[in-house]
């Protein structure tokens, strides 16, 4: 009885969501082509939702960012990013407090998978690290940014961890570099914010423009901010995974 009630409730909610999607939004064939990077006239066509009619059509002049959401979120509302970084920092500190990792690493068995998995992992992970670094460093021009890039780097390290075991992974990137990356990222975000004072703007507001839109160095502040967030997210995720794997006994 209860299961049938829950199932019917889920079906009704799903149908409602699908109906709401099609009553409020235009059909997908009528969406205008929205190029990600239009360097010729520096505009982004509006996407057609009625709720976004008042949204700006192009990012503010001279920001060096092709996407209006990226420009606002990383340029003018970097407080949001700092808040997310604080949330991640707090959760990592909580996990490490719950499972203190001192001396637990030697208790772990050296467990690896078969040679097929090891070969595939060793062939795959360099490209994953490269892809994560690309997503972090080009976060102001292409989709992505600090958070997905950092998570991809952490996932690449997780593949090594699963294939070769925890002790091998900790001998390559251990606890101390992860903690240093986490704290260095947190410090870098605040330092970037304070550096805005010396360039004539406010805390975490955009500064340091070099080059035109489309260049790599079009907005150095967003690049440094993405790098800091990527470092912080990669370190934090790896710390959480390492701590959960090693602290509660065995592998």
């Amino acid at each position: 009885m209860q299961e049938k009630f829950a199932l019917s409730l889920a079906v009704i909610v799903g149908l409602f969501l699908i109906l709401a999607l099609y009553s409020g939004a235009p059909s997908f064939g009528s969406f205008p082509d929205r190029p990600l990077l239009d360097t010729e006239d520096n505009t982004i066509p509006s996407i057609g939702f009625p709720i976004l009619e008042g949204a700006p059509e192009k990012p503010p002049d001279g920001l060096g960012v092709p996407n209006v959401v990226t420009g606002v979120l990383w340029g003018y509302r970097a407080y949001d990013t700092m808040g997310e970084a604080t949330v991640l920092f707090t959760s990592v500190v909580g996990v490490i407090m719950l499972g203190s990792h001192t001396g637990m690493l030697s208790l772990c068995k050296v467990v690896g998978m078969t040679v097929i998995v090891k070969t595939v992992a060793s062939l795959l992970t360099p490209f994953l690290f490269l892809f994560g670094g690309y997503i972090v460093l080009y976060g102001h021009l292409t989709p992505g940014g600090g958070f997905p890039g950092g998570v991809i780097i952490a996932a690449a390290m997780t593949i090594i961890l699963l294939a070769y075991g925890v002790r091998f992974a900790c001998s390559r990137i251990g606890f101390i570099p992860c903690e240093m990356g986490e704290e260095l990222g947190a410090i870098m975000i605040v330092v970037i914010g304070i550096a805005g004072f010396f360039t004539g703007t406010y805390f975490l507001q955009p500064w340091a423009f070099f080059g035109e839109l489309g260049d790599l160095l079009s907005n150095v502040k967003i690049i440094i901010l993405n790098f800091a967030v990527g470092l912080k997210v990669a370190g934090g995720m790896l710390l959480i995974i390492y701590t959960l794997l090693t602290s509660f006994g065995g592998e």
Partner: protein, 79 residues
Amino acid sequence: MESIFLNILLVLVFLFYLIAVKVKDLLYAIIILAAGNTALAVIFYVLQAPDIALTQAAVGAGVSTVLLVNAVNKTRRKE
């Protein structure tokens, strides 16, 4: 055409999450949950939010799977 594609994806996400709730073996549930998260990432990409799609694919299919498998490993496998 894109509408049909999106409808199929929406139904697929619904079915994946439903199976993930109903199945008794928690390890299978985690894998099906990762499949549902991947389909959700494709939906975000179709809806022209590639930023969110990247994050959803990396977190939903990568990191959360590892954490949940670790949690199942530390507790019981059967529900």
